[in-house]
Symmetry: C2
Subunit: 195 residues, 2 copies
């Protein structure tokens, strides 16, 4: 039986590291399993819920704060929320972790030079050309997670490998709630093992 | 069988008209029925998701826009969302109705003099004293709904009467999805009857 326990899977990393791609792939898999999943994509959210915000530290913190509130509400109601947002500041991520509780932090790690080569949104090009400021990795800091539940090296792993790493942690969270009654000890073990 | 179909119940009206009280009472009843319900209270939301906003028309519209986004997400995932917000502008309410689709507008109607006598948050007193501006009903307009699904006259009805009026409309929305299979015709009739 699938219990409706939500979870927030928070993907952080540089622009073009692969956060949105991974988030969508995982959401698709979870939906195929009959679970409720929602992607909160940082770029999309800056078009509506955070359309007033820029890229100063203050605005970035506010952006993460708002995404955190929405993720918390959805998580509370049994949705598996996939947040794909650069979220460069550790303290802002730690704050949402505390707020939400059921939280898995995924560090989508790819070296700047690889991200810059991909440059899905032209951000690095425009940053290098001086057209925009506050580009994370160029003139704005990125604070990597110290103890992420998962680290995906998207420059070395295939998308499927990264996805599998995330799914194995997610399944540990959900497994305790969804596994068939094949033995109480097993279920307890999974609960104890969940981060 | 209870299907997880969400709905947004949007309570609009002057401050101290009784929106939050009704929203909480209905959420409690829905939860007791095993349904997922969430109250999005305008005053609470101005403490977090909309803490940057004031009471100009522009800020009020932005406030309703953001609440609408959250309500839409929760509704999509099967939650019955009770929004309690003054939401004085018709166009902003109509926009969220269009956005969400599954939407019941409740006009919580009480004459200004009654609301002012209650003055739960001291807003009217401070408005009359010139301490604050943009108080809806005093120096800011309130545009009543033209075709609300429910109108509660909280100055004449008891809270239970108002609640019952809202619940009967909510049950028409949910009834088509939750009623036992006691005849297809009945179910179709309920669907056709839903506003």
């Amino acid at each position: 039986m699938k219990r409706a326990s939500g979870l927030t899977i928070w993907l952080t990393g540089l622009s073009s590291a692969g956060k949105s791609t991974l988030a969508s792939a995982i959401a698709e898999q979870l939906c195929a399993q009959g679970l409720k999943a929602e992607v909160l994509d940082g770029d999309a959210i800056r078009q509506h819920l955070c359309r007033d915000l820029g890229f100063s530290k203050r605005d970035r913190d506010e952006n993460i704060f708002r995404i955190g509130i929405v993720a918390e509400l959805l998580t509370k109601h049994g949705v598996i929320v996939l947040v794909a947002a650069v979220s460069p500041y550790r303290s802002a991520r730690d704050d949402v972790r505390k707020r939400i509780g059921r939280f898995v932090e995924v560090y989508v790690n790819s070296p700047l030079e690889i991200c810059e080569r991909r440059d899905m949104h032209g951000i690095y090009r425009r940053g290098r050309a001086g057209e925009i400021a506050n580009v994370t990795g160029l003139d704005d800091p990125y604070e990597p997670p110290l103890r992420p539940e998962v680290e995906c090296r998207t420059d070395r792993e295939t998308p499927d490998e990264s996805k599998a790493k995330i799914m194995s942690v997610v399944e540990r969270w959900l497994g305790a709630e969804t596994s068939p009654a094949s033995g109480t000890l097993q279920v307890i073990d999974v609960i104890a093992d969940a981060p």
